[in-house]
């Protein structure tokens, strides 16, 4: 016969296991979700990679080349704030905040694009 204490103990252990498994699942789900990353490139070269969800204070990044672009980063969004190139298409594109959003300054060969990056792998084959 099980004593009352045993039943409570078993119940406690079972609860702990269920909570543990659920916790791991939930954490796993959070872990595997893509984080929003802004990639700043000039030509072929990646200059900066910024996790937009982790931006604290707003930051300005200057990209020099044939021209000079100023990029403004805030939590969750990024844009070309200013450029001394002739056409200003990049500045007019405005804020980028969603996966797939892209802005380009062709004269300075600067590009900002937002990608979803996986935290658990370095790269995926194709």
């Amino acid at each position: 016969m099980l004593k009352k204490g045993d039943v409570i103990l078993v119940a406690l252990i079972l609860t702990a296991i269920i909570l543990g498994v659920a916790g791991t699942r939930i954490m796993g789900a959070i872990d595997r979700s893509d984080s929003l990353v802004a990639v700043i490139k000039q030509g072929d070269r990646v200059i900066r990679r910024i996790n937009l969800e982790k931006v604290g204070n707003a930051e300005r990044i200057v990209v020099s080349g044939d021209y000079r672009d100023t990029i403004l980063v805030e939590k969750g969004r990024i844009r070309f704030e200013d450029a001394d190139c002739p056409d200003h298409v990049c500045v007019r594109t405005g804020w980028l905040s969603e996966k797939g959003d892209t802005a380009v300054c062709i004269p300075n060969r600067t590009m900002i694009k937002i990608t979803g990056e996986k935290s658990k792998v370095d790269i995926v084959t194709d």
């Binding site: 072929d44 070269r45 370095d122 790269i123």
Partner: protein, 347 residues
């Protein structure tokens, strides 16, 4: 007493400071993304003192390889080889192209013809992912099949020729693989010890990550968007190359016609596999074998891979089952983002 506590606190902060310095936080790679080489996306992540120079040099090397080995590069080795098919002319071939040609023949033999670079005339007829893509008639396919035979790539010292006219050697299934190895050699010549390169999804890792842990390479989910994976391979200095029916294809009347042609039938391979991933020391080997096993199918594919030392594989079947070779028991972590796959054979 209080002094002891104070010392302990100081020591604690020193430790925290040093440990955070030592971790990966401070190491920034040189990263590049190119879209104009070998018709694919090239991604580099290079760590170390000369990373920038190494990455630039790697791009130069890739352009050189492209000029020699792609079918459409006028005056390139492969272009001349094909132009002179059957006319008896011996073409002087660069030693790099010669190495790839010899590798191609080697894997043709090893796979019993499941991999064959002379499948070129059929590749051209199907025109998959070109503006000329179409389904050739059975007669046309049967006719062109007669031109497919890797033994017709004749090699004599530094020269090569194709035995019969209208034959075409197409290094599409192996040149990118070779290029991955060439990039790693460039890195090494600059003293780089930690890097990752992806040539259109052919991944080659050099060493470990700068923090000493292994590279984590996701194995592509063949039935999902780019970037989704079904498992993770932990690797140190290995090539990881995938082939699948999802890479390039067109659909007619609900049928998928993909780019990996079976050199025996002349039609897109229909072996029951939808994705193959090979892990090997050399990416040229991994590239050829991923294609060969895709054509061979699960059973013959597993058998072939298990017979080659130092080469491992992950296979995905049409019914969404995942199989791995024995050697991947510890380095492959089944982690299917979609929840649709089943991990059947763990070595």
């Amino acid at each position: 007493m209080t002094k002891k506590v104070f010392n302990l606190i100081v020591l604690f902060f020193l430790l925290v400071t040093f440990s955070s310095c030592g971790s990966s936080g401070s190491v920034q790679p040189v990263e590049t993304e190119s879209y104009d080489i070998m018709g694919t996306i090239i991604i580099q992540k290079v760590y170390g003192k000369n990373a920038g120079k190494a990455a630039d040099e790697a791009v130069k090397e890739l352009k050189k390889i492209e000029g020699m080995m792609t079918i459409n590069a006028p005056g390139g080795d492969i272009n001349r080889l094909n132009e002179s098919a059957g006319n008896g002319t011996w073409n002087t071939i660069d030693e790099k192209t010669m190495y790839v040609l010899k590798k191609a023949k080697e894997f043709s033999q090893l796979s019993g013809g499941a991999f064959d670079v002379t499948v070129g005339p059929l590749v051209k007829a199907w025109g998959i992912n070109t503006e000329n893509e179409r389904i050739p008639s059975k007669d046309e396919v049967d006719n062109l099949l007669k031109l497919v035979d890797y033994d017709d790539i004749l090699i004599n010292g530094k020269s090569a020729r194709l035995a019969r006219s209208r034959q075409i050697a197409d290094l599409g299934g192996i040149a990118k693989g070779y290029a991955g190895d060439a990039v790693i050699e460039v890195y090494k010549s600059y003293g780089i010890e930690s890097a990752l390169v992806s040539l259109g999804g052919n991944v080659v890792a050099l060493g470990n990550k700068p923090d000493g842990t292994q590279w984590k390479v996701g194995v592509r989910n063949p039935r999902s968007d780019e970037g989704q994976y079904i498992g993770i391979l932990n690797v140190t200095g290995k090539a990881v190359v995938s082939s699948g029916d999802y890479e390039r294809f067109f659909e007619r009347n609900g049928v998928r016609y993909h780019h990996i042609l079976d050199p025996k039938t002349g039609y897109p391979a229909d072996s029951g596999l939808i994705g193959t991933t090979i892990v090997a020391d050399l990416s040229v080997d991994a590239d050829a074998l991923s294609t060969a096993t895709f054509v061979l199918g699960l059973e013959k594919g597993l058998k072939l891979i298990e017979s080659i030392k130092g080469v491992e594989a992950v296979f995905v079947t049409k019914d969404k089952k995942v199989y791995t070779t024995k050697g991947l028991k510890d380095s492959f972590i089944f982690d299917d983002e979609s929840g649709e796959y089943e991990y059947v054979k763990k070595g």
